[in-house]
Amino acid sequence: MSEANQDTTPMIQVNQVWKQYDDNIVLERLNKTVDEGEFVTLVGASGCGKSTFLNMLLGTEQPSKGEILLDGKPIPHEAGSDRGIVFQQYSVFPHMTVLENVMATCGFQRPGITGYLFGSGRSAAREAAESILEQVGLSQALKKYPHELSGGMRQRLALAQALLGKPRILLLDESFGALDPGIRADMHDLVLSLWSEHKLTVFMVTHDLKEGFYLGTRLWVFDKLRHDPQAPQRFGAVITYDLPVGHMDQTTYQQIDDHLRPIPAQAG
């Protein structure tokens, strides 16, 4: 693995990727590379295909044309343990307590029929789970069920669960979109600290430009360059801006902001 890192091959290569559903072109001509350790934020109007792109990284959707390579190999057509995910909802298991939810990760990491842990494996999992729950600030809620938690706590739990799986890539699909702004800011701090601590590569989808502008290392703006009013499905979105975060001025922000807003949201 260390060899691959010294190699100049980037971790993720997106080569000429198109995505369409029947006649509806969602994404077109995507060409990008992402190095290990980057924190990429994906913004764009709703229906612009940023979640579709994330799902292609996850493996639940495939490009219609082109390919996405992870370490030079195509991403498998199903979710796997090298790519962690936190959805906006349904990310945790409702029938397990907080502790069980996280311990389940350890069970899933081992080969086995049932995924249940016994004996020393179980106590090791318990320790690991407790320590990661401490990191995300859920030590007080170990015995609670997800429905007893607030939205923010539930997403913390989902994060802890994903992190214990030791993914190389963490995918956040509008994970904090349903939270109150104050809580969302807390979650961003948490994600940033976890990102640097666990040496992750992060892709975060958000619909809030301001959020993406100040978080992580790189901002991708998804937008339709060509637009046919008679046939809005004719053209897909491309990545119109690929900016290093932290080196942007207010005018750029305003430019993107103005550009994103006038386009009415399209379902898709």
Binding site: H95, A104, I113, G115, H147, Q161
Partner: protein, 273 residues
């Protein structure tokens, strides 16, 4: 004055409203029975409460002259054993079929059409086949109940399994889970409370098949007894038996509900996926 649609009964009044129909029916019965018995003291159609009590006493607390058994309890034990076995088998089969067809599209492709067709066969129509194949003993009755309700439970569980958000399956895979781990740790525990619900809903059908099978061929059982004493128009036995079956059905339903609460606290409190 609020509109009628917005009016709600208070606690005590609600209880009163709930009890009232029972009391009313009871009074109607007693009055009808009195009126008929006054005209003809030998009337058998609407026995008086004391006649019913006598009938029950004879069945439940006096040993039968023929066999020396307490028939009422003997009948209850036989019927509950058949019903329990039938439902247990149906629940386990239904859970297994429902879970694999709900979770695994490859299996569903092969089993779902069969399941749909099988569920359309009227179980009572194949009762003669069961008697021919399994004989007139216990097996055929248990099999009838099992065959009768397995398709219902299996299809219900299949649908419930498919209703579990796919995010959870993807999440489990992103944590490294394989197929059997997802089925056993993610799907099965969430399906169990739904299985209890499905069993509760299928109990009515279970009783129907039980009593039908007992009516046709049996030597004891609640259904057998009712159909036996029908020949003598012994309403003083039939009525308490029907009441007893109703009470049993109610008790089974309540205990399953309470068991669900106890076993799956997260489910009852609203943590439904």
């Amino acid at each position: 004055m609020k509109k009628f649609i917005n009016q709600r009964p208070g606690r005590a009044f609600k209880l009163l409203l709930g009890i009232a129909p029972f009391v009313l029916l009871f009074l109607l019965y007693v009055m009808g029975s009195d009126a008929r018995l006054e005209v003809n003291p030998n009337d058998k159609l609407l026995p008086s409460m004391s006649q019913i009590a006598d009938g029950l006493e004879r069945m439940a607390f006096e040993p039968s002259k023929r066999s020396g058994e307490y028939l009422f309890w003997q009948d209850t034990a036989s019927s509950l054993t058949r019903l329990g076995l039938g439902i247990l088998i149906a629940a386990m089969l239904g859970l297994l079929i429902g879970l694999v067809t709900g979770a695994l599209p490859m299996i569903a492709a092969s089993l779902s059409p069969l399941l749909t067709v099988v569920s359309l066969i009227p179980p009572l129509a194949i009762l003669p086949i069961l008697f021919i194949v399994f004989g007139l003993g216990e097996v055929s009755k248990v099999v009838l109940i099992a065959i009768g309700i397995t398709p219902f439970i299996a299809r219900d569980i299949q649908r419930r399994t498919q209703e579990i958000p796919s995010e959870q399956l993807v999440k489990a895979q992103s944590l490294g889970a394989n197929t059997s781990q997802i089925m056993i740790r993610v799907l099965l525990p969430q399906i169990m409370p739904k299985l209890f619900d499905a069993v509760r809903l299928s109990l009515g059908a279970g009783w129907l098949f039980l009593i039908a099978a007992e009516a046709v061929a049996a030597t004891d059982g609640l259904g057998y007894r009712i159909f036996l004493v029908r020949r003598y128009m012994a309403m003083d036995v039939i009525l308490p038996y029907v009441a007893w079956i109703t009470i049993l059905a109610f008790l089974i339903d309540v205990s399953l509900r309470e068991l669900t609460k106890k076993l799956f606290p997260w489910y009852v409190q609203g943590g439904r996926s």
